[in-house]
Amino acid sequence: MWKLLPLSALGGLILLSFGGMGLFAEEPDAEDEVLQLKGEMLKMKMDYEGKLGKMEERLQRLEEGNPRTANRPSYSSDTPQADSAIRNVVMTPEEKAKMEEELKGLMGEKKETAGPHPPIPSSQMPTVPEAAYPGGFLQRIRPGILQTYNPDISVIGDFTGQFFDPGRGRGDFNWTENKFENREFADRFAMREVELGLQSAIDPYARADFFIGLHEDGIELEEGFMTLLTLPKGLQVKLGQFHTAFGKVSRTHRPEIFQVDYPLIIRNLFGDEGPKDPGISVSWLIPNPWDKYIELTQEVLTTRGANEHYYVSHLKNFFDLTPNSSLEVGLTGQTGALKTRFDKGDSQVHANIEGFDLTYRWKPITSKLKPYKSFLWSSEAYFTQLDDIGFVERDPVTNNIIFKNNAEDSWGAFTYAEYQLTRRNFVGLRLDYAQTLHDNRDYEWDITPYWTFWQSDFGRWRLQYSHTERKGITPIADSDDAFTLQTTFSIGIHRPHPF
């Protein structure tokens, strides 16, 4: 049996050899097939490229034959773009960088072109899949409905950084205590205000608006009022605490006005944050044969802290001069208790104030005009008659407490103009003049150029310079200068303000 082993092994080897030969005998056939396939594919590729080339040529001839496109850079022309398109390598990184530079130059402003829209630089954009815009993953989940009954909520941040130079008079007068100005935010950064807004309909008849100011020294109700919307005869009633109908600028919250601060006369009369007190406001849209907007507002308010009443009347007239321009003329009268910027606690005075405001706007809406240009000019003047008053003042020379008792008439005015340079850039200038309320021999004037850049509808930067000169019989700081950077930013839904 063992003799058979070599034979068996030999037989096995032979069988294996045959088998192997059989296997190897098939290999040349497969190789041929692969080669054949390769050849066919190459031929197909050549045919396809040939046809593609012919199609390209035809396309080129067609486009060259079209007089409208003959002079236009196109894929079939000899432009570098065309070459790169045909190569299917559309742009090299260098070409892209060059084009981006060209675009920056064209846009005039770094990473922006125009418009009141939110101009978030693309580099700072959160990464959202491209499909988000046309409707990709945005389509998958149903939005929540729980917030339907929530009010519109907004938060506005008002940040300032001010460099302040007291200038002349520094040595002999402490500017922080002068009777003209108490620059709370001078020479420092400050989160001047955070304004929380809550706005919603109460029911079918009324709506409510709350604005809560968070300041460095605490929380304050900026405004909180209910508006009755369904009264007859063009009437509307507002109850609560609100900015009074005094003039035009002072009705807007400080973070949203055209400059960093209210004008001098507004600050002197009502303080840094404008006139706001609890009361009732009745306004009436007066019918007239010319179909013009004429609104009369009558308000009764109580001074906070002192608990005395005062009365405000305002007549607002609005005229469309052209589709692109308008004029607003307002008259204001106020009488009764007045809590000026100098009155703290329960201190107050009594006064009559008459005012006049005029605002011209130009903003083209027609397609033929430049879409991102506008101009605004607004002026207000106020005449104040302070009743006989007794008040306490620190003598700036002797530093003694002195008592004054007098009646005083004074006036103040301001005018400002703002021009829109580009979609997001505005420049403006404000001129201020105000006599002090208690002594019209003292006065100050102010010139304030500023530049505003709207990062988006919801973020705004402002750079403002202010030079103030003072004259008077009392020894006061003659002048000072202030550079202010202001950034105002908002989140949430903040309803647009009336025009």
Partner: protein
């Protein structure tokens, strides 16, 4: 108080009293006018309202056809218009964020939200691109309730007409039959026009275009065109160099030859893109009275289709047989 200020004060008070007296005299009830007064936010809605209301209504719009409906100043003069209105028709979907301020300032309870004279024209319309995730401003000006340019599909025009009809039935039930008849005529006209428009555009089905803003999804969807990209990187966000460069690259890769832009945006970036890619910039108004000859809702579509086909032909885009 000195005399000068007293004089000014007295004059002010007198003027206020005079104006008040005049207003009181004029505030007596007006004679009942034969026609209802409808105010629509846009010229498109106003045009449809004219068809439905016929000679029983006077219709005015707040904005003009060449204006951007997203941004409208809340002018008091618009409030005066709404003060007199019997019905107020909005495009809706939060396109006109300025409209509630106007309606509330108008002191007209007939047209406030929820009142019989308030009509949201979007109810029941086919709305595209309704966000399905939490929307933040990171996504640009995404409208929470979907793309509000839905009137650019004539089928949605019929829905708008029906919503206006419902409003007219509420405020003027006596003439319901008349308004229903008008609405039926309007629908019939749409049904007759739409196949013609579709037939005109059918040979170009699938053609890619670039649009400046995402104004056209309903229009493109209806007529078989494809938005290959947008000049704005996100809705309402102005173009950035990086985005424009990538758009140019995309257009060259995909050989897109048409850029559609509304008349109220600056054209320099779109023109730059067109120059670089050999594409044609076509300025198209998406609204009635936004271009010459576009006098009503039907001529709007004739104008749009004709101008797009002309642009295709100029760019050598051949109709597919």
């Amino acid at each position: 108080m000195n005399s000068r200020f007293n004089v000014i004060f007295r004059l002010t008070i007198r003027f206020a009293l005079l104006t008040t007296s005049l207003g009181l005299a004029l505030s007596l009830p007006r004679q009942t006018e034969a026609k209802l007064f409808l105010v629509a936010t846009s010229t498109d809605i106003a045009s449809i309202a004219r068809f439905v209301g016929g000679d029983k209504v006077d219709v005015e719009s707040i904005i003009q056809g060449y204006q951007n409906p997203h941004y409208v100043d809340v002018k008091p003069s618009y409030m005066v218009k709404l003060h007199k209105a019997d019905m107020f028709v909005k495009i809706g979907l939060d396109l006109e964020l300025w409209a509630p301020i106007l309606a509330e300032g108008a002191r007209n309870s007939k047209i406030l939200y929820g009142a019989p004279g308030f009509v949201d024209a979007s109810v029941g319309a086919e709305i595209l691109e309704i966000p399905q995730i939490r929307v933040t401003r990171e996504l640009g000006d995404i409208h929470l309730y979907g793309n509000p340019h839905y009137w650019l599909d004539p089928d949605n025009g019929k829905v708008i007409a029906h919503n206006i009809l419902e409003g007219l039935r509420r405020i003027d039930p006596e003439n319901s039959a008349y308004y229903e008849e008008n609405e039926a005529k309007f629908d019939k006209k749409v049904d007759a026009l739409l196949p013609q428009l579709e037939a005109k555009m059918k040979p170009y089905a699938g053609t890619k275009v670039i649009t400046y803003h995402n104004t056209w999804p309903n229009f493109l969807n209806r007529f078989g065109l494809v938005a290959a990209g947008y000049v704005e990187p996100k809705p309402g966000v102005p173009p950035s160099p990086a985005h424009v460069t990538s758009l140019i690259e995309k257009m060259m890769m995909e050989k897109v030859k048409i850029i559609i832009q509304e008349p109220f945006y600056e054209t320099k970036i779109s023109q730059f893109v067109a120059n670089k890619t050999g594409a044609k910039l076509v300025i198209l108004s998406p609204s009635v009275l936004g271009a010459e000859g576009v006098t009503d809702y039907f001529s709007l579509f004739d104008y749009l289709i004709d101008n797009i086909i002309r642009a295709f032909q100029e760019m050598g885009i051949k109709p597919q047989t």
